[in-house]
Symmetry: C2
Subunit: 282 residues, 2 copies
C-alpha cells in the first residue's frame, strides 16, 4: 500500500492524503472501490482513483446536496436519490419529518457494502423509510411509475458509469419523474478543473432549456479537486431563493441544530457565484 | 529541484503542485522566498514552504481582501497595507478612484523583488499613488502619524515574522491608526486546519473586544490549505453588510467589470458561515 493517496486534477497538481491502512479493495462489475484509513480524515472511500468521501468532511457534500432541495420544496414526501451508495444523502433527507419514502437507486452494490463496513456514521440503512435498489439510475428514471417531490443526482464524475448523468436526455426523464412542484439537485464538479467544463456547460444548458428555474450553487469540500464544488438546483415552479424557502428552513430548528454546514444563510450565500464561475456556464 | 511541491497542513495531507522550473530562491534576513514555474498555475511563490500565491488563483485572495473593505468604507482615500509584498492587494485597492495614497509596509524586500521579476501581472509598483516602505508593519502602525481609512493585514501564516499580526496588541494599534469610519481587513487562515484554531480565536476575540463591528468572511482559494480561507472585517461604525455597502459596490461598474471573483452577491454571501466555522471562533 502506498503511504499517500494522490489525486491529480490538473497534470501533476492535486491532493495528497496521508494513509495508515488499506481497509477495503474490490473491483466490482463497474469500478474499483477502495477504503483507506487516513491520517486526519477518518476513513476515505475512493472509486477508480477519485475521492468520494472521508468521514471528516462528508457532512459538507451531503448536507448541501440534500437540504437545499429539501427546503426549496414546500413539503417533500417522496425522494429519489440516483447513486448515493454511501448513504449520506439519504441520511440527511431522512431528517425531514415530511418524508414518507426515499428510493435510493445505486448501480453498484459494492459501494453500499463498503459504506456499511467502514462508514458506520454515514448510512442510515436500517431506516424503514429507505428503499435501496441496485439498478441503473438512468433506466429507473426513464421507467419511473410514480413521480417524486425531490430527485437528487448523487453520482460520481462524468467518466465511467456516471457519464450518462451529465446528458440532457437524462434530465428530460428527470423532469417527467418530478411532481409539478418537484425540485432536482445534482453535483456538477469543480469550477477549477477545466477538463470538466464541457460537462458542466452541458448540464446547465440542459437544465436551463428544460426547467423554468435552474441555478448553480457552491460549497467548500476540502478533499474534492481545488476545494470548490458546484451543484445544480432546478424546478418548474420552486425558486431555491424564493420567498418562504429561507423562512421554512429557519423554522426547522430541530433539523438545523444537528447540522455542521448548512444553515439558511449558507443556503442563500451558496448561490452567490464569483464572476469566473458564472462565465463557465454562460 | 523536486518535480512536485508539497505543502502538508495535516500530518501527511495537503496539496501537491506539479513543477517545471525553479525560477527564484533567496534566503532573506527573515525567510526563504522561492518562485517556481508550475504545470497549470503559472508561477508560484512560496515562503518557508508555504504557498503565498500563484498567477492563476491570486485574484481570489487579492480581490477578497481588498474590495470588501474598500466598498464597506464610504470613501476610502488613504489605505495602509501591512505585508502584501507581492503587490496584488495594492493593485486591487488602486482600482478605486477615491484613493489618494496607498502605503504598503512590507518587512521583506525580497518578496517585492521576486514579484517584480516573476509576477509581472500582480504588482502595480509604478503607480504614483503607491508608496512602498520596507519596515516592520507592527512598529509602523504603533508609530503611525496620520490615520487611515482602510488597513489591510496581508501577512503570511502565524509562524515566523507574521506571528505578531495575530496578537491583540497589534489590533489595538490598528484601531488607533484608523479614522472614525475606518475599516480593517485581515487574512485569518483556514477553518480546516486545527493547528491554526488558537490564532483564529485570538484574532476574532481581540477584534470583538476592540471593534463594535467585527465579522468573519470566507473565500475559496484552491492553493491554500483545504481550499477554504477566512478573513476578518472590523470597524467602529461601518458594517460590511450594512445599508448602502452593496449598492455602493453595485454602482461601481467600472471596477466590477474587470474583476474575476468579487461582486456584490459574493460580498454578501461570503459572510454566511457554515456551522462548524462559527464554532471555531465562538
Amino acid at each position: 500500500m502506498p503511504l499517500q493517496y494522490n489525486e491529480y486534477y490538473n497534470e501533476q497538481t492535486g491532493l495528497t492524503i496521508g494513509l495508515k491502512k488499506l481497509l477495503f479493495s474490490k473491483q466490482s462489475e463497474y469500478q474499483l472501490v477502495e477504503v483507506y484509513e487516513t491520517d486526519t480524515w477518518g476513513n476515505l472511500m475512493t472509486i477508480d482513483g477519485m475521492v468520494m468521501l472521508s468521514e471528516r468532511d462528508e457532512f459538507v457534500y451531503h448536507e448541501m446536496i440534500s437540504h437545499v432541495a429539501m427546503f426549496t420544496h414546500p413539503k417533500p414526501e417522496r425522494v429519489l436519490i440516483i447513486g448515493g451508495g454511501d448513504g449520506g444523502t439519504a441520511r440527511e433527507v431522512l431528517k425531514h419529518p415530511s418524508i414518507q419514502q426515499v428510493d435510493m437507486v445505486e448501480i453498484d452494490k459494492t459501494v453500499v457494502e463498503a459504506s456499511k463496513l467502514h462508514f458506520p456514521g454515514v448510512g442510515d440503512f436500517n431506516n424503514p423509510k429507505l428503499n435501496v435498489l441496485y439498478e441503473d439510475g438512468i433506466a429507473y428514471v426513464k421507467n419511473m411509475k410514480k413521480p417524486y417531490d425531490v430527485i437528487i443526482i448523487d453520482g460520481s464524475d462524468p467518466v465511467g458509469p456516471a457519464e450518462g448523468l451529465f446528458e440532457k436526455d437524462f434530465y428530460q426523464f428527470c423532469l417527467k419523474a418530478l411532481t409539478p412542484e418537484g425540485v432536482l439537485t445534482a453535483q456538477t464538479e469543480s469550477p477549477w478543473v477545466e477538463s470538466y467544463y464541457p460537462s458542466m456547460k452541458k448540464v446547465f444548458s440542459a437544465l436551463d432549456d428544460l426547467f423554468p428555474i435552474s441555478k448553480m450553487y457552491l460549497n467548500y469540500i476540502p478533499l474534492y479537486p481545488a476545494g470548490m464544488w458546484s451543484m445544480a438546483c432546478a424546478s418548474r415552479s420552486e425558486d431555491p431563493l424564493g420567498d418562504g424557502v429561507l423562512q421554512r428552513a429557519e423554522s426547522a430548528q430541530n433539523i438545523l441544530s444537528a447540522l455542521s454546514y448548512y444553515n439558511p444563510d449558507v443556503h442563500r450565500g451558496a448561490f452567490a457565484l464569483p464572476n469566473f464561475v458564472k462565465k463557465i456556464i454562460q
